[in-house]
């Protein structure tokens, strides 16, 4: 392996945020490379079904309206300066994507068509059938090919190297050969996505394991609002696979076991299209109150008609048939709230810069704080594109007058090799990573879910403590070098445990109910004491808590009603 892999800007993660950042950095003239543990088009961004929000001014929409809906959706925990940046930029970013080739659905005049989405007073969600994320991701990959960015595909980053207080590069494992390498970089942008797999079940793909958050946390970075975990209102029982909000956006109803549209009680105006935290809580309340069937309520699309479903909801109909054996044209689908997204993540400013010099983050792993306590549907794709681009631009500017940090690559490599060899050399008798992950997922889903209380969170913290012990002995059965997924899962589990700790500690700390955090023991929102972000950094005994103010520009916090 060549010793001297080096790039001005190195992007870790090739989902939408990562590829957008790479294209921007390359366009800015920097020698740019992107590294991803799966081929870019396998990234989890392709799972997004519903769409992407933007207020297009020529359609009579107003970015301030979008900003207000986002802020209200966030339960006033989102930073308003960042939300302004995102909503102002949305229209231009959307048109950029269309020019790149995304096949957005159109209206009768051949212009971009919209659908309604939750928590917004206007239909401003642009979409490609019900596979918007895939459509965007593949087009972004086309542009990546065109841009000439160097790609390291199926390389797994195992650590971030900091030297003299700034980014120096990463250590990565080439999965196909099993070689460990140092890649030097002047700036590193993390775009590693969420951490959904530390819950069980989750709508997230198996690769969504919080690596970037874990890597940055371990290097001294700040995580913020980690307690804010979104449970999506419509996931399939069993597998936990998502049925997109697009279904409700197109007019589907939620019904209890007797066929009642129970959202009347919880959000008489917005009904099924209230924000996700509100709908998920309503469902869980009904289920707990005995108005569900087998832990589920129903999503009813039967009145939408076959034609509409076949044009706009084909893929989710197929998922229903394949995984639940239910054809939504004919019958309501049993659904329940399921873990879906993390609003929290690596704390950044509006340019993606973290508290570590030369280290950036964008996309779901980051927290610029546009989602606050609850993300609106279709705002996440927008977040990846807007802040991916900004991070790429900023990083490529930043490298112009800086050199590479000087460090002993061989020593760093030797140390990492020892760490991994130690894992491979462990005796075979410990619990397998699969069992540990499952126990973690169950515990999180039991106690750090839609409804939380101190006792439950404490229990999970205890569980996590034990799980970490077990993790220290987790064996790696596969001793080979070639495509050793066993080793990779074992490494990922470490990042997941780090994220789980911060989520549980954040949830325990916030003694109020706001957005996705609902504390049964503190059921009210309490702006006086808790209108601030909770920041977590790594300390000796686990996550250390501090706080940061919420940025409020012109929208004063008020009570949230839908």
């Amino acid at each position: 392996m060549p010793e001297d892999l080096q790039h001005d800007v190195l992007i870790v993660g090739a989902g939408l945020a990562g590829m957008r950042a790479a294209i921007a950095a390359r366009a800015g003239g920097a020698d740019t490379a992107i590294i991803s543990k799966v081929h870019p088009v396998r990234s989890h961004s392709n799972a997004a079904q519903g769409g992407i929000n933007a207020a297009l001014l020529d359609r009579g929409d107003d970015w301030e309206d979008h900003a207000y809906d986002t802020i209200k959706g966030s339960d006033f925990l989102g930073d308003q300066d960042a939300i302004e940046v995102m909503c102002r930029q949305a229209g231009a970013s959307l048109i950029d994507m269309e020019h790149m080739g995304v096949t957005f659905n159109r209206d009768d005049e051949g212009r971009l068509g919209t659908r309604a989405f939750g928590g917004q007073r206007r239909a401003r969600t642009f979409f490609v059938g019900d596979f918007t994320g895939q459509a965007l991701l593949h087009v972004m990959f086309e542009q990546l090919i065109k841009s000439g960015v160097q790609r390291y595909e199926e390389w797994f980053v195992t650590s971030l190297i900091m030297e003299e207080g700034r980014a120096a590069g990463v250590i990565a494992l080439e999965i196909r050969t099993g070689e460990l390498c140092v890649i030097r970089a002047k700036t590193v942008i993390f775009a590693t996505g969420g951490c959904g797999r530390l819950f069980e079940p989750s709508t997230n793909a198996l690769i969504v394991t919080g690596d970037g958050m874990g890597l940055i946390y371990n290097a001294g970075g700040q995580l913020m609002d980690m307690e804010m975990v979104q449970y999506h209102p419509t996931t399939l029982a069993g597998s936990g696979v998502l049925i997109s909000e697009a279904a409700r956006g197109e007019g589907a109803y939620l019904r209890d076991k007797d066929g009642n549209r129970f959202m009347e009680k919880y959000a008489p105006n917005m009904m099924e299209l209230a924000s996700r935290d509100v709908v998920s809580r309503a469902e869980q309340t009904e289920i707990n109150g005995g108005n569900g069937v087998d832990g589920c309520v129903y999503l009813d699309c039967t009145h939408l008609g076959e034609a509409l479903i076949m044009e706009k909801l084909i893929q989710i109909r197929e998922i229903g048939i394949d995984l639940a054996g239910v054809d939504m044209i004919k019958e309501p689908i049993p659904i329940r709230p399921g873990m879906h997204y993390i609003m929290g993540g690596i704390k950044t400013d509006v340019n993606g810069l973290t508290n570590l010099s030369g280290v950036y983050a964008a996309g779901e792993c980051a927290n610029v704080s546009v989602h606050g306590g609850n993300r609106l549907g279709a705002n996440s794709l927008l977040d990846t594109i807007v802040f991916g681009e900004r991070a790429g631009n900023h990083a490529s500017d930043a490298v112009r007058n800086t050199g590479f940090a000087d460090f002993d690559a061989n020593a760093a490599l030797a140390q990492e090799r020892r760490r991994i060899q130690e894992m491979l050399d462990r005796p075979e008798n410990g619990d397998r990573w699969g069992a540990i992950r499952k126990d973690m997922g169950d515990s999180m889903n039991r106690n750090v879910a839609v409804f939380r209380n101190e006792e439950g969170i404490q229990e999970t913290l205890g569980d996590l403590h034990d799980l970490r012990r077990r993790y220290e002995n987790v064996p790696v059965q596969n001793k080979g070098k070639t495509f050793n997924t066993d080793l990779i899962f074992a490494l990922e589990l470490g990042y997941m445990l780090d994220c789980a700790d911060t989520i549980a500690v954040g949830a325990l700390e916030r003694r109020e109910s706001r957005g996705a955090q609902f504390r049964v023991d503190y059921p009210e929102r309490n702006d006086e004491e808790w209108l601030h972000h909770i920041v977590l950094t790594k300390g000796d005994g686990g996550p250390q808590v501090s706080e940061l103010p919420v940025v409020i520009t012109k929208w004063t916090p008020e009570e949230r009603k839908y």
Partner: protein
Amino acid sequence: MDVTIRVKRQDPEAGDERRLPYWQDYPVTIADNATVLDALIQIREDDDGTLSLRCSCRSAICGSCAVRINGHAGLACKTIANTVVQDGVIAVEPAGVMPVVKDLVVNFDLFWEKIEAVDPYLKHMGQEPEGEYIVSNEAMLHLSGVTACIMCGACVSDCTVLEVDPTFLGPAALAKAYRFTADPRDGDAEGVSMERLWALSEPTGIWDCTRCNECVQACPKGVAPMDRIMAMREQAIQAGYDNNNGARHTDAFTESVGHSGRLDELRLPIKSVGMMNLPALMDYMPVAFRAMRRGKMPPIAHKNVENVDAVRRIFARTQPEPEAAKVSNNSPFG
């Protein structure tokens, strides 16, 4: 359900005969509605960590898990195990055409080289509009049938030409090319992608396909690569690129590949009506085509023969406009 998953394995690093392909049996107990992928994951998590495979989304969207199940390419996560058990066994092999890296993991380099070879990005000649391009919803919906491709490689795995001629661009890359030649935003002001059609008409391109239909069978997303290739032949002919080297190359090739004789029966009526209408057919007959794609029909030769009548009926019903065969990208219907 109790079932034996029989996995074809191979470990290039092994010092013994495991360097060469061998079969290993894994008896598992799985839920009745479990997919083949669920079974493989269970093996990997609970039983044998040395088994390597790619997977991520579990819902047929990431394109990671294409393998051969009982000899046919498909997605492990989209195949319900109890629909493919034969005498208590499900045989799982790595995808074909691409070389094995380890166990069920194959090397996709060849796949991606071919994708890159078709210049896979929109090329609009002329000024970009200030706002979005104004195009019909039908045109976009039609393209969605192709952009639904998840790059899983199932079609490439089972392509009868690629098996013997690695220079062929192959079904996935050609379907990708069609995604641009049929895009009203690509090419000149009329949406005609002349340069692409010229390049695609060269040897290794659209005329090298033997129309064996394997890619249509294998594709888990209904992309129907062969139909897209046929549509591009029509586009190329309209653009004036016919009877060239490429076309003659195909004729020779067709003879050398066994599959095609019977299949031409199927292609003939289609050809006589005009390939550009195939997408329209798919819209008209989603059920029949879905059934075909989901492998609910008997093996290939019979299948085509059995379906000829259905296909003829569909064609009769769609009543093509005289200009149907023209390269017009504004609507999938001609």
